[in-house]
């Protein structure tokens, strides 16, 4: 279990007419130094992470964990377009930015973190993977706290982006950099407790897990956009103790983390389940219970 002790983020619904928001000013505002040649993915990571910890004194030994489905998607598609259409060798800065952990380097430098620094991906459940890694490292003493981010950038044209994400052609698209500072179970100043971070093999395993929940408790449920569009999930619909939680976010891989933060910003006293299915039939689940003081 992990206690959430601070949250912060950046979110944008992508307006197809206006295009993507320029993040240069927002990134400059939160950075201790001027980082040159950073890409949009890194800008997103810098903005979200800084907002998460702006009112928090970080302990030494904080680990950094970034989960993302595609990492630096805009920069990598640009490198491939130039490689394939014009035979251009990637420029050094562009190539370095294709490496998924470049953003982690700049976040660590900006926040003066020197501990464990990991990037992990698992489709729309990348935040589940990141939290599972953080929980392992907290439990085994490799880190004292974990700054866990879910960073996913949108890339134009949106039709291509929807294709990559397997979403319906008219889906509203978003992007986000959502961050949670988490600490060992029982830590002070908890906003909420993450009690479960699990991967279930198939829908039968999900049904079994749901059967193990307290049937007298009502739970809010937020499904990832792909799960909502593509999975029938009859086992969710048949359980009256589950009611939808609608975070008001467009579609993007980090939707689950955005939902957790929107839930914490409200005054819900029912536990939240965020569920993301994957294309191999598995389900990845996080359960968040509000701290007693705020319940």
């Amino acid at each position: 279990m992990l206690e959430i002790i601070a949250v912060g983020d950046h979110y944008q619904t992508v307006d197809p007419e206006q295009g993507l928001e320029n993040l240069k000013a927002a990134a400059a505002e939160v950075c201790r130094e001027r980082f040159r040649r950073i890409d949009r993915f890194t800008q997103l990571a810098l903005v979200g992470s800084a907002r998460c910890v702006e009112n928090t004194e970080l302990e030494s030994g904080v680990g950094l964990y970034i989960g993302s489905r595609f990492a630096s998607l805009g920069n990598t598609t640009s490198v491939h377009e130039k490689m394939v259409s014009a035979g251009v060798v990637p420029k050094p800065a562009s190539f370095i930015n294709t490496l998924s952990n470049s953003a982690g380097y700049f976040v660590a430098r900006n926040l003066r973190l020197s501990g464990r620094n990991l990037f992990v991906s698992r489709g729309d459940a990348s935040i589940v993977a990141a939290l599972q890694l953080a929980a392992m490292d907290v439990a085994t003493g490799a880190v004292s706290q974990a700054l866990v981010g879910s960073v996913d950038e949108a890339v134009l044209p949106l039709a291509h982006h929807r294709f990559r994400l397997g979403l319906e052609p008219d889906t509203d698209m978003g992007e986000g950099s959502h961050w949670l500072l988490v600490a060992p179970e029982g830590s002070a100043n908890s906003l909420a407790t993450i009690t479960d971070m699990i991967t279930l093999q198939d829908e039968a395993a999900l049904a079994d897990w749901l059967d193990g929940l307290d049937p007298t408790t009502a739970y809010r449920v937020s499904l990832s956009p792909w799960t909502r569009q593509k999975m029938a999930s009859t086992c969710l619909k048949s359980r009256q103790m589950l009611t939808d939680f609608e975070p008001g976010l467009a579609a993007y891989p980090g939707h689950a983390t955005g939902a957790i933060i929107r839930y914490l910003e409200g005054d819900d006293d029912q536990p939240l389940l965020v569920i993301a299915a994957d294309t191999d039939g598995r389900f990845h689940v996080i359960m968040v219970r509000p701290a007693p003081a705020s319940a």
Binding site: T76, T77, P92, G104, L113, A129, T140, F163, D280
Partner: protein, 387 residues
Amino acid sequence: MTHVNAPVKITASGIVSALGQGKRANLDALLGDATPGPDRLSLSHFEEPVNVPYHSVVGAPEAAEDRLHWLLDQAMEELLAEHPLTPDQRADIPVFIGSSCWGIGIAEERYREQYHENPEAAIPLPLDGFSQISRHLQRKYGFHGADFALNTACTATANAILNAAAAINMGMHDHALVVGLEARNDTTLAGFHGMQLLAEEGMRPFDRRRDGLVLGEGCGAILLSRCQNDASGTMLWGGASNCDTYSISASNPDGSTIAAVMDAAMARSGITPSDIRAIKAHGTATPLNDDGEAAGMRRSFATMPPFFSMKAALGHTLGSCGVLETLLMAAALTEGRLPASWGFSESDPALGVTPMCESMPSEPGYYLLNFFGFGGNNSSLILRHQD
């Protein structure tokens, strides 16, 4: 000092690399009198000539997806022949994967095909590259547990090993699978070429004439298992990782953060520098990286233990080198011999350290393995071998 976490045993492993298919072929080459040098690849899709040395795997299919699956199958079949897992075990155990390429070669190939057919409709990166390895492990071998696609550049599988051990230490699993895979692709080769980090011919780690690295491909798989402290065989005894924010592409050349990660790995393992029998260095043969690693070793060790790099023989397999080099180290310890530091012939007085020129017998005890990567990521692992 206190040993922080329980050790985990390297129960089974499998490998395919430029040195051959299987541990036996790899060990024979690594511990023998000579290793094959790199091939040369000419990348035909670029406007400027790109001709680079490369440690290719012999016999691998040309098509990117087939190549990725084939590499994975070679390593997994050796591992599963050594330690068959039941369907229930496979469905449950966590899978930690490290790579630098993931599905990038497949994405390049598909985009290029689409582009030649219809440039207007072609979609760059048309697939989720990070899921390609896990998907094959699920569909072909039934590994449906939690998967972790870690990408921290050249430390990806060293970090994967640390988290796999943590998963076992948490008490939720008796086993964890760690997989590292690097397959030939244009993005990586052209990217390193553009950064001018590639050697003219072969790698010379810690040599005065070192002039860069040679990339390589391969796949390694390790099954880690819960064990007792006094178990025989090779165990992961501990380790640590940190982030050096000195530069995105090189560790601090004064060696301070490299020394810090080695010191932390030894401290978490409950041992001191004098307990280390030998070091498998990261040893990329780039001037700056070898400077930093040599300086780090000098800081941490009053008396330098013997050390060597495997990369002149294997090539730099980037995110997969943590698994490939760790499983070969464990196999070499079982064999009772440490390999020579291939590619080395002339000491560099500026480094102040000299790697092993010859293969030498190994003894039971503790061994330190270093892995460093872009993004300031540093990891050190401690193995203990017991007859």
